[in-house]
Amino acid sequence: MPSFSYNDMTFTVAPRGDRWDISYALPNGASALVGAGLFKGLAEAEAAARARALIKTIFPVGIKSVGPDVAHPNTIGDLKIVGPDVTHPNFIYWTKDSVSCPKQL
């Protein structure tokens, strides 16, 4: 039963008769189906490769907004400023300026 991680999610490809089901783990620990009864008659390795390609199409990688980190607001007087959750593993740091976003003077 091949399992793989993609785009922050864990997918599993499991046989059902001569077909394959693809499921993914939900944040609450339960699982949901991406597809049921697919790839009739394919061997495990081929079904897993087809599943990977399908998942890459269905769940495109994009920018995920992370946060807000409501537990750690900055305060100015009674004004609370809530920033992104910088401790989240998906938070991306840029160490240099992006060329697509040049510094404006």
Partner: protein, 264 residues
């Protein structure tokens, strides 16, 4: 065209009429792609189809987006290798009269929001156009037999409080004549287009409607009840199988009449 062995995609397949269409086609042996914006509804419907012993995939997408449309078509082709039936069920209502007046002054107190207008046009008209266009492209390039099904509404006739919705649905109802006419011009013979115009149907969409108004409307339905989503699904199944039905819009309303019994 036989349903068994065909591949269908249904936008709005996570709920209401779309869900009934997905399940009806899956029961008849079609492989189905459930396209919707709400992931938990997609998950539920795909699970139900698994329990039926059917074949399905779920794709979360916003039908108003051209990129999402390309993605759900590609996902369907990657899973099943072909596409034969595309049903555009995703739809919304955002009701309101164009103008509201202040009772005391008689002056305009409120106008229909552009946001309410645009959301309905984007989902119910542009979303249907994108689905029909890209599904037809896949069918032509793949050389497959096909049926395109825009979902219109009986309110294409014009419903007060629904300037946005009726405008979109009358345009959806026109699609079969134009699309099939263009197919004839271009020598595309294997793909048909039939729109379905439901009357008031028992789905969650109606829970967003004024319930008093709904009760009053039911008095004008000859059948005396709401249409069941499964009844619409079985009509679509029939349209798939009967290739003489083409370039038209079929109403399924239970006999909705104007007051005094004049059929709508």
């Amino acid at each position: 065209m036989e349903i068994k062995g065909s591949v269908a995609l249904v936008t709005g397949g996570g709920n209401g009429i779309g869900e009934a269409v997905v399940k009806h086609l899956a029961r008849q042996g079609a492989r189905v792609a459930v396209v919707d914006m709400v992931q938990k509804n997609i998950d539920r419907v795909v699970k139900d189809i698994q329990d039926l012993g059917g074949e399905a995939i779920g794709i979360q997408a916003n039908v108003t987006s051209e990129a999402d449309t390309a993605r759900y078509i590609k996902g369907t082709l990657e899973a099943f290798g072909q596409l034969n039936i595309a049903v555009s069920c995703a739809g919304i209502i955002r009701d309101g009269t164009m103008l509201s007046l202040d009772k005391e002054t008689g002056q305009v107190s409120k106008k229909l929001d552009l946001a309410k207008w645009q959301a309905v046009i984007d989902t119910n008209l542009t979303g249907t156009f994108l689905c029909m266009r890209d599904a037809a492209e896949a069918m032509v390039n793949g050389g497959w037999e096909g049926l395109l099904v825009p979902i219109s509404s009986v309110n294409k006739a014009g419903q007060v409080g629904q300037l946005n919705y009726s405008s979109a649905k009358v345009a959806d109802a026109l699609m079969p004549k134009i699309i099939v006419g263009e197919f004839l011009m271009r020598g595309i013979r294997k793909i048909r287009c039939v729109a379905i115009a439901p009357g008031y149907t028992a789905t969650p969409m109606l829970t967003g409607m004024n319930q008093e108004a709904l009760k009053a409307i039911l008095e004008d339905v000859h059948l005396g009840r709401l249409v069941a989503p499964e009844e619409i699904a079985s009509l679509i199944g029939y349209c798939v199988e009967n290739e003489a039905i083409n370039a038209t819009t079929i109403e399924i309303t239970g006999g909705l009449c104007y007051p005094k019994g004049i059929a709508k």
